[in-house]
């Protein structure tokens, strides 16, 4: 298992390199750069700017720039954010954590609802409840994330039940540990629901399909013929086989999850990697841009490896040799 994960890491590291290189390439291809803005600022002398340029090798070609950046990254130096005027790693740490919390909450929400719902719909195939939930899923799949966010924010601002955007309330620092948790959870509700619904729709349909297929198989018939209770047949015999294909999907769904999360983060003003990306693009802040892409890739890779471990756990037939 350990050797498998190490091998998998070797396969995934190129992804990180390519993703962060895209950042460098995009900024270099773009007309103008952050220094153009700095140069117009009379408070910053030309010497300071050329000092920066020399320090980060920004006067060289893109490959040299990237090479020096990679060397620095291996020493956990992600460069300097020209817009924020602090080292990039300080911003990234916080943002990575925030996006991680949001993604975790979305994954929990999605899977804890989609799997039971899929099972329920499969067991009650063609009944009213099955058709009702399938219809709801379809709406969830079709409603644009950004529009759903705006609708929920409108609802929140009208009723005042939920905070309309952001991550913390004013006075968050003075709250007790439990109070902080409650406050954070309240802010998590809208982004989680929005990002979650589109995921639930797809997963629920798949789970329903898998379950229906398994329920038709002969070993389920044998289990029923043996006189096992219906619950035991469904939850012990059928479920374990129906859930296998779902776990393989888990890794693949992460890219979409992060993509959907980014736009929702921006609209909900959730300070994560997605909203940071927009800021970096707007200010053409090279190291922030590349660092953000690197961190996103890092989250993806963690997800893929987790999915592999999970798959080995639910399906003992798989051996990583």
């Amino acid at each position: 298992m350990a050797t498998y994960i190490i091998r998998r890491l070797f396969f995934l590291i190129p992804l990180l390199i390519i993703m962060s290189f895209i950042g460098f390439l995009a900024i270099n291809l773009a007309p103008g750069n952050y220094f153009d803005t700095l140069k117009q600022n009379p408070q910053i002398s030309r010497e300071t700017i050329s000092e920066y340029e020399a320090k980060y090798h920004l006067d060289k070609d893109v490959f040299t720039q990237y090479f020096y950046w990679l060397v620095n990254v291996s020493k956990f130096d992600f460069g300097y954010s020209f817009a924020y005027k602090i080292p990039v790693i300080k911003i990234l740490k916080l943002r990575l954590f925030n996006t991680f919390i949001l993604s975790l909450s979305v994954i929990l929400f999605t899977w804890l609802i989609a799997i039971p719902l899929g099972i329920y719909c499969a067991v009650n195939q063609h009944k009213f409840s099955d058709r009702f939930f399938s219809f709801l899923s379809f709406i969830g799949l079709s409603i644009p994330n950004f529009f759903f966010t705006l609708l929920l924010l409108y609802f929140a601002s009208k009723t005042g039940i939920l905070p309309s955007g952001g991550m913390h309330s004013l006075g968050y620092e003075d709250l007790s540990g439990f109070g902080k948790f409650i406050d954070l959870s309240k802010h998590l509700v809208i982004p989680t629901v929005v990002i979650g619904t589109s995921g639930i729709a797809g997963l629920q349909r798949l789970m329903r399909g898998n379950m229906l297929e398994v329920l038709r198989s002969q070993y389920v018939m044998a289990a029923r013929a043996k006189g096992l209770s219906e619950n035991r047949v469904i939850y012990v015999h059928a479920l374990r086989n129906a859930i296998n294909p779902m776990v393989t999907i888990f890794g693949g769904s992460l890219s979409g999850l992060l993509s959907g999360a980014a736009l929702t983060e921006i609209i909900c003003s959730w300070p994560g990697l997605g909203s940071l990306m927009l800021e970096a693009v707007r200010s053409q802040d090279l190291f922030l841009f590349a660092g953000d892409l690197l961190m996103t890739g890092f989250l993806l890779i963690i997800g893929y490896i987790l999915a592999d471990i999970l798959l080995a756990w639910v399906d003992p037939r798989i051996q990583y040799q």
Binding site: I27, S255, L263
Partner: protein
């Protein structure tokens, strides 16, 4: 007795007709696209016809009953406003004069596809009053007119982008599946890399390459390019899978034995067999492109004011306080929602009707 034979497409369409929702979606989309084409005629005002004094005018009430409670021709009242204590405008109807709703009335000039130039609108009111079917935006422009015009951009971008990504996808997928080996490996790794990068991040990175101060036509093409770049790998991978199985079929062997060139085999024998897949994938891929455009425009990186697209119309609602006081600015979102849903339903119906799996086996 000889049975009448049907072509593969005729059978597909017969099956499709049984899908009530898919047929309904098809007509709905037809209606939306027609309204985009005839936007100038349908919209009472030009998309940039503003009246700043009527900022955020709420949707105009159309009256069908006169004071005695009897039916008359529909009419509206002019709106006037006062400020409340928070300096919000409170609009009230000025009941001194009625303005009749007129059909085929002269108004702003427009042109349909550059062919028909006219100033006759389907409906409208006397220029002294203003008709806001769905309310006004911050500059007092008619939201309904802007939505109808916005459809031109939002609805067409999906088609153009899907078309380009299909061409690239078919070509790359066809080559990859037909030649196998190293070509296949390299091309497919490339696809996988593009697919694994979260779409939104890729979209922003690509957008950052281009200047922000482009004119709207340039931005339109930039968005089309970005969307096609993100979209083609999905097509290529599936076409490759089909090409891998098709290349072993007898008719391809026969073509090869006859000495037909490789490119011609791909173009004439392999790609046509993927058409039923294409029909389905087009209708399922367009919503993604429409959403991509909307997202970019929503963030101010796409279509710019004064031009309208459903995404940039919605960008006014990014300030939550604005939605709270003027909820009608959310309406463009419903149009995106309905369009996406219709394409999804149509795609589902098409998939059932033209099951691409049946075609390979």
């Amino acid at each position: 007795m000889k049975k009448k034979s049907y072509s593969q497409f005729a059978i597909g369409f017969k099956k499709l007709r049984k899908h009530k929702l898919a047929v309904f979606s098809f007509y709905l989309l037809l209606l939306l696209y027609a309204s985009a084409v005839f936007a100038g005629f349908l919209a009472p005002y030009h998309y940039d016809n503003e009246k700043r004094s009527l900022s955020y005018n709420p949707p105009t009430k159309i009256h069908f009953l006169n004071e005695d409670g009897k039916f008359t021709k529909p009419y509206i009242y002019e709106m006037s406003y006062k400020f409340d204590e928070f300096y919000n405008r409170i609009y009230t109807e000025d009941k001194s004069q009625k303005y009749k709703l007129n059909f085929f009335i002269r108004g702003d000039k427009y042109s349909i596809l550059g062919l028909i130039n006219s100033d006759i609108h389907l409906f409208g009111v006397d220029p002294k009053a203003r008709l806001y079917l769905l309310g006004a935006d911050s500059r007092g422009r008619d939201l309904f007119s802007r939505i109808v015009y916005g459809g031109q951009i939002s609805l067409s971008i999906g088609f153009v982008a899907v078309f380009i990504s299909l061409i690239i996808g078919l070509f790359v997928g066809g080559i990859s599946g037909y030649f196998k080996g190293k070509t296949d490996t390299i091309l497919m790794r490339l696809c996988e890399i593009i697919m694994v990068i979260p779409g939104f991040y890729l979209m922003l990175s690509l957008r950052s390459i281009f200047s922000y101060s482009l004119n709207s036509l340039q931005i339109y093409f930039v968005i089309v390019c970005i969307m096609s770049f993100i979209g083609w790998p999905g097509v290529a991978r599936i076409v490759r899978g089909m090409a891998l199985s098709l290349r072993e079929r007898e008719f391809v062997l026969a073509a090869r034995a006859l000495g037909v060139s490789n490119l011609k085999i791909i173009a004439r024998h392999i790609i046509p067999h993927t058409f039923s897949y294409i029909v389905v994938s087009v209708s399922l891929a367009i919503p993604g492109f429409i959403l991509g455009e909307s997202a970019l425009s929503l963030l101010g990186l796409g279509i710019q004011d004064p031009y309208a697209s459903w995404g940039n119309l919605l960008s006014e609602s990014m300030a939550i306080a604005q939605i709270k006081f003027h909820p009608w600015i959310l309406i463009p979102g419903f149009f995106i929602f309905i369009t996406v849903m219709a394409f999804n339903l149509l795609g589902d119906g098409l998939r059932d009707a033209f099951d691409p799996k049946m075609n390979i086996e």
